[in-house]
Subunit: 275 residues, 2 copies
């Protein structure tokens, strides 16, 4: 896991440089963080409003980010996330590194199901959707690639939560129970029982009613030393397919990916990928 | 296209803030740029060496980037590109926006070919590979998702170069001819003829011998106002399939994607994607 404060290294060098210098990195990422799925293109005025920073600061940093390729300025003067970020992000081990190994196996599973095949990793208290293969005529699913999913109410999320280190899992469960109670507030006792079932069985099954009745079947992806690297899941319309018939396929595919993940060092994989 | 110096806006505000502040953004991206496909995990010492920056600066900025999620610090103390960048990059219109529309159609094409299906966009003088579907048992291809391909010697690249604005195309051609001559130096006259053929025919076919004899068939993806948004290509082992039989499939698929690209505004697509 990533650590905000790395141990075993010299103390922070605060004071040697103006604090302003360091804060610029945060401000730059505040600008990048102003974009979201429903705001993929923003004008300078919109960026200024959404970041809450002065217009001059926003303009200066936006230009800097255009210079690095992290932002692109379109012909209409508005800004969008740039391709350079896509290029850098493709090097993320926990995302694209995992994806590169999993993708051909996911294709196999997609051929069998012709619905949705998802690949997710845990990022803190949520799951991040790294990949999704969806059939042309499949019903829509809620989550997009690069988007986040809840851990306690999705198949892939339950697999990731069940395999999290105990202390981390407990912290996340406490966070879930501390939320303002609503109609959908999960029962912690029930959730703990579900997580124990997922650990024991090696897979998770979740039935959901919205936006359409569907079933998610998920299984863990294990890397070297049986560390949990991610979750593979299939989302199917409920009723049309017996999900119990789908479980062995998902588990078999997850095991094939896990074997591949454990078989060799991926971080030094050559640019000329084998697949 | 992205522009480094946006017109029609106030002059740069240089001087109001220390230059140091702005330079921090460049330095932060120098650190992110130190990672590449064969260096996905770097120690502080490696980061320092590869960036050429002082160790204290590198450490301070690496920590800042860990704080934003752009970097992750692993248990062994080394750094890797973080999932937060994957999340932000997924909002890139020219990458994932295009990908979201193209993906189901690419799946269809993949079903027919069971080899490699590629989606690429032009980024300056190169093509950036946004997506690649590859069969489990397909021969390896040279390019990985997030990686760059030459414009003049790949099917997708030729389509992107042929459709570039004339002045931009000429600039790129001059750049190609100005490179140190090697065994593979392209003949500019021949290349211009090829580009005219691609424009006239609406597709590109390239035969390549390494790493294995293969043929690439590519077609343009057009957005609103028939602007070139990207290229779709199929890579097949040469000899096993008549590529002339594959060309109509690639062109048909590219037209279907283009129709979808032109049919509505994607930039305001809701999080609950329709596919």
């Amino acid at each position: 896991m990533a650590q905000a404060v790395p141990p075993g290294e010299p103390a922070p060098l605060r004071g040697r440089r103006p604090a302003q210098g360091d804060a610029v990195v945060d401000r730059a990422f505040t600008i990048l963080g102003a974009f979201d799925p429903t705001h993929r293109v923003l004008s300078l005025a919109e960026l200024t409003r959404r970041t809450g920073m002065p217009r001059s600061t926003t303009l200066r940093l936006a230009r800097k980010l255009v210079g690095t390729g992290a932002l692109e300025r379109r012909d209409d003067g508005r800004y969008a996330i740039g391709l350079r970020l896509l290029e850098i992000a493709s090097l993320a081990l926990r995302g694209h590194g995992l994806r590169a190994v999993a993708m051909p196996f996911m294709e196999d599973l997609f051929h069998i199901t012709r619905q949705h095949v998802l690949l997710a990793v845990r990022d803190g208290d949520e799951a991040l959707l790294v990949e999704r293969l969806s059939a042309h005529d499949a019903d829509p699913v809620l989550y997009r690639v690069g988007g986040r999913m809840p851990l306690h109410s999705t198949g892939a999320g339950l697999v990731l939560l069940a395999g999290a280190p105990p202390a981390e899992q407990e912290r996340i469960l406490q966070g879930i129970s501390a939320r303002p109670a609503g109609a959908q507030a999960p029962d912690l006792t029930e959730l703990r029982r579900t997580l124990a079932d997922v650990r024991r069985g090696g897979f998770a099954t979740v039935t959901l009613g919205t936006p359409w009745p569907r079933i998610s079947v998920a299984a863990p992806l294990l890397g070297p030393g049986d560390t949990l690297c991610g979750a593979l899941s299939v989302v199917l319309p409920s009723g049309t397919v017996d999900h119990r018939a789908m479980t062995p396929a998902v588990r078999t595919c997850a095991r094939a990916i896990s074997r591949e993940l454990s078989s060799g060092p991926r971080e030094d994989a050559p640019d000329h990928e084998r697949r």
